[in-house]
Each structure stands twice: as structure tokens, then as C-alpha cells.
């Protein structure tokens, strides 16, 4: 039982990363009908921007120009990095995807992969091949709850992730911007007839998705401080799987599927040798998709014709 709970805690942490990244995938897919295959690399860029912001803030503190406790630096790092990374996402949308809005979807998919490679190699050129380590902004404290070990970092990661997901849900359900996003997911073509610019909503979608990926990147950096330019690839693919599993454009679906992925991975590794982890975990996912191809909360694809 304790063993189980211990793994549950770990699964929640991994699920948080997957879910945060999956949300960006799912929103872009739901609203623009394209897979932003560069999204995993946006996660990487977010982590590096976080690294840059945190390092910069720490430098300012050490020169005495500002005084701030480390937790405040972490909060500021997350906020600034989310904003900066959202601009990266908007640039990707403007340069990479907008010209292809009416092109075949395969072109957009290829563009995504290319943008991913550009971001990875761009990072290599900028910072070199060495790995960088994310500054330790908070000291790990471990709590023993009846045999289950929980660290303050894990709690922070899960709480921040859930808060962001809740904020996103509120945004999508309660604001006029969110309403426009939902409308666009339903019927792309008539949105301009409401006086709403498709470009504005597309830009907003990319901005939000990228900001969430940046948050995931920084939280990842807090838990696993070694960053490298290719860290986004595997995360990107897994989050993509979670987005599909959750259902097109569903915030709740992407969140649940992200956590489910974390659980399956961790619990498979608990029972089987860890070398078999991904093989077994993704076979399970494949099986779920065979029986529910449109994911948990998506509509069947045949329900509606889309451009």
C-alpha cells in the first residue's frame, strides 16, 4: 500500500508535466485543426527561458540591486517565462502556420517538425552542446507521511499545475475570448461573421499553449535540473498522445489523459522491468484508442465536416 501511494505521488508529478504540455497540443488541434509538432520544443524553449530568467534574477540579487527570497524568484521566473514563451508561440504561429492556414494539413505537420528542429539547433548554436543546470531556487524538503515520502517540490509542481489548469478552464468557459475559442473549435469558417478575427484567436491559442508549456518546462527544471536542447522531443510526443487520448480540444480530457499517462508509465515500471516501460505503457494507450479513437471527450470525427 505504501509502495502504491509512493508511486501515486510520483505519477502525479509526471502527469502534471504531460498534462500541461498536452493542453497546448489539444487547444491548437481543437481550434485550428492542426498538430503543432513544435510544441515539445516550445516546452524546451520555455525551460531554457526559465533558466535564463532565473539566472538573471539571481545575478541581480547577488549584486544587491534587488532583494527577493528564492520563492519569489521562482514565482517571477514562472511568470516572466510564461510571458516570454507565449511570444515565441505567437511568432511560430505567425511565421510557420498562418501562411499555411488553407494548405493541406500535412504541410502544417511538416512545418511543425521543421520549426522543432530549428528551435533545437538554434538552442545548440546559442548555448553550445553542453547541458545547463537549472538554478536550485528551493531546497528540497522531504516529509514522511506514514512511510510515503513527499517533497515540497512535488507538492509545488502538482499544485501549480492544477492551478494553471483550473485557470485555463475558467478562461475558456467564462471569458469572451474563451467563448470565441470554443466557437472556433466548433465552426472555424463563420467566426469572422461574428466580428471576431480568426488571426487574433489563433495567436491567443498559441500564446496560451506556449505559456503552459513554459510553466511545465520550469517545473521540470525545478524537479530535474539538467536541461538539454532535445529534452522536448520525448515529452512532446507523449503529450501529443495525451492530447489525442483526451479528445480534440478538450481541456478536461487533456488534463486527465496527461495524468493517466503519468500513472500508466509509473505503474508499469512498478511491475515490469523499466526497460519495458514505454513498450507496455503505450501498448495500453494503443488499446484504448482502438476502442475509443476520438479520445475520452472528443466527438467522433465523422460528426462534422471541417475545412
Amino acid at each position: 500500500m505504501i509502495f502504491f501511494l509512493q508511486n501515486l505521488v510520483n505519477a502525479l508529478q509526471w502527469g502534471s508535466f504531460y498534462a500541461l504540455i498536452a493542453l497546448g497540443y489539444s487547444m491548437v488541434y481543437g481550434i485550428l485543426m492542426l498538430f503543432n509538432f513544435a510544441h515539445g520544443d516550445i516546452f524546451m524553449v520555455g525551460a531554457y527561458i526559465g533558466f535564463g530568467v532565473a539566472t538573471g534574477l539571481l545575478a541581480l540579487v547577488s549584486t544587491g540591486m534587488i532583494t527577493a527570497p528564492n520563492w519569489m524568484i521562482l514565482v517571477l521566473t514562472i511568470l516572466f517565462s510564461m510571458i516570454l514563451t507565449s511570444f515565441v508561440g505567437m511568432i511560430v504561429e505567425r511565421v510557420g502556420y498562418r501562411p499555411l492556414r488553407d494548405a493541406p494539413r500535412a504541410s502544417a505537420a511538416i512545418t511543425g517538425l521543421m520549426i522543432g528542429i530549428i528551435l533545437e539547433t538554434g538552442n545548440l548554436i546559442l548555448l553550445g552542446a553542453r547541458r545547463v543546470s537549472f538554478p536550485a531556487l528551493i531546497q528540497t524538503e522531504t516529509y514522511n507521511l506514514g512511510g510515503v515520502y513527499i517533497t515540497n517540490k512535488k507538492i509545488m509542481i502538482v499544485v501549480v499545475s492544477l492551478a494553471l489548469m483550473l485557470a485555463l478552464h475558467q478562461f475558456v468557459q467564462r471569458t469572451k475570448w474563451g467563448m470565441a475559442m470554443r466557437a472556433m473549435a466548433y465552426d472555424y469558417t463563420v467566426v469572422p461573421l461574428m466580428g471576431v478575427s480568426i488571426n487574433t484567436i489563433a495567436r491567443l491559442t498559441f500564446a496560451i499553449g506556449s505559456a503552459l508549456a513554459a510553466a511545465a518546462g520550469i517545473l521540470f527544471g525545478v524537479a530535474y535540473p539538467v536541461l538539454d536542447p532535445y529534452m522536448g522531443i520525448v515529452f512532446g510526443w507523449k503529450a501529443f498522445v495525451a492530447a489525442i487520448l483526451g479528445g480534440r480540444g478538450s481541456v478536461l480530457g487533456a488534463t486527465l489523459a496527461g495524468f493517466l499517462l503519468g500513472f500508466i508509465e509509473i505503474f508499469v515500471a512498478m511491475i515490469f522491468p523499466s526497460t519495458l516501460r514505454d513498450l507496455i505503457a503505450y501498448s495500453i494507450i494503443l488499446l484504448i484508442l482502438v476502442f475509443r479513437p476520438h479520445g475520452f471527450f472528443g466527438e467522433p470525427y465523422s460528426a462534422r465536416l471541417r475545412l
Partner: protein, 238 residues
């Protein structure tokens, strides 16, 4: 003149959907364009709304403004040209209220929005009853009411209506057209209507145009058109 269209041409690939048509509308008018399936009626409205690209040589002037310098969303938000598309095209995942609110996305005049909303519910009390219902679950008639209400909310000076009679029972059809007449009369809204149901359209509008394979072949007052032997033969069932 509120809207003047000169030499409007639209092509879909190699197919010329509109071959240089001319027409105009004065403020406060109700004008109909009738024609068979595929004559180019929807394309005409979509061109005005800037939903389809037009061929070079096309001129569209709306209140002394060159329509071609506006994008589709600005046509609605800046010029107040609202468009009720064919098949209504509601956002079925949004509630009645949300559909109406979305149409005010770019509007800043809060008091006027509230007044307009009240007016929509006055014209269509059924919508008031169904405020919180998802629009996808409405009946056909209610959906058409909502589509018109939505266009009303988007700040209409002129309302473009694409086959509002489609799929409606005769009585509902009349209700919808009565409501449109009221909107035209009471709410200073010019109406451009395209319809396959020629008799209904011509009874509703003061004057009309006949569109045939991308060309406007006839124009005149509705009475003239209703009496025209060719119109009678082709569109009014003898």
C-alpha cells in the same frame, strides 16, 4: 446609396461563379436576389462579407468606403454588415446566450448591447425562454431565429440573409419574415435577401434581382417581377 456593387466577379478555381454583376441598395430598403440552386446567390453575399476572394476589377462601395480594404471580421465590426449564413451555422456547442454574446465580441457600446439584447428577446420570445440551452438542441425555426438574432447583435446596419426560409414549415417561414420586416422597419436595418423561394422573397422585398448562372438577368420592382412571364415560368411554377 448604402451599398453599390460593380462588376463583381468570383471564381472557384476555373469555375466562374459570378461573372461581373452590378447592383445597389439604398438605406432602409429590402432587396431580394432570387435564383436557382448554384446561380451564385450565396457567393454574392459571401463576397460582400469578404468571405471569398473577388476577381480584379470588382468594385464594392459601402457608405463611401471601399469594401475591399476590409477583412471579413472588420466588415462586421467596423461597417456593421451582418450576415446570416446559409444553413444558419450556429455554434451548437454554445448556449443561445453565448451565441448572441459572441456576436458582440468587437463591440464596446455596453448600454446599446443590453438594449439590443432586450430587443432580440422581444422580437423572438422563444429565444428568451431558451437562453441557457445549447443552440445545437434548438428546433429548426428557433435556430433560424437565433441566427437572425445573432446577426442583429453584431451591430447590423445592413443584414445579409442567405435562404432564411430553408427547411422551415410554411407558418414558421412567415413568422420569420414578419420578424425581418419588423427589424427593417423599427430597427433601421437594411436587408439584402437571397432566396430560392422566389414568391416569398418577392412578396417580402420591394424590389429584386434575378440571378442566373452568375449573371443578373433581370431587375425591377417586386410587382414587375411577379408579373414577368419568364420569372413566372422559371421561378413561380407557371
Amino acid at each position: 446609396m448604402l451599398l453599390s456593387v460593380e462588376n463583381l466577379s468570383v471564381s472557384y478555381g476555373k469555375i466562374r461563379a459570378l461573372q461581373g454583376i452590378n447592383f445597389n441598395i439604398d438605406e432602409g430598403e429590402i432587396v431580394s436576389i432570387i435564383g436557382a440552386n448554384g446561380a451564385g446567390k450565396s457567393t454574392t453575399l459571401r463576397a460582400i462579407s469578404r468571405m471569398v476572394p473577388v476577381e480584379p476589377g470588382t468594385k464594392m462601395i459601402y457608405q463611401d468606403q471601399d469594401l475591399l480594404t476590409y477583412t471579413a471580421d472588420k466588415v462586421v465590426s467596423r461597417l456593421g454588415i451582418s450576415h446570416v449564413p446559409e444553413g444558419r451555422r450556429l455554434f451548437g456547442n454554445l448556449t443561445v446566450m453565448e451565441n448572441l454574446q459572441l456576436a458582440t465580441f468587437a463591440r464596446k457600446d455596453r448600454d446599446k448591447i443590453q438594449a439590443d439584447l432586450k430587443r432580440v428577446f422581444e422580437i423572438f420570445p422563444r429565444l428568451d425562454e431558451r437562453r441557457e440551452q445549447k443552440s445545437g438542441t434548438l428546433s429548426g425555426g428557433e435556430q433560424q431565429m437565433l441566427a437572425i438574432g445573432r446577426a442583429f447583435m453584431s451591430g447590423r446596419k445592413i443584414m445579409l440573409l442567405d435562404e432564411p426560409s430553408m427547411g422551415l414549415a410554411p407558418l414558421l417561414m412567415l413568422n420569420v419574415f414578419e420578424a425581418l420586416k419588423e427589424i427593417n422597419r423599427e430597427d433601421a436595418t437594411t436587408i439584402l435577401l437571397v432566396e430560392q423561394n422566389a414568391r416569398l422573397a418577392l412578396q417580402f422585398a420591394r424590389r429584386g434581382y434575378v440571378l442566373e448562372s452568375g449573371n443578373l438577368v433581370l431587375e425591377g420592382s417586386s410587382n414587375e417581377l411577379l408579373e414577368n412571364p419568364e420569372v413566372k415560368k422559371a421561378y413561380l411554377g407557371g
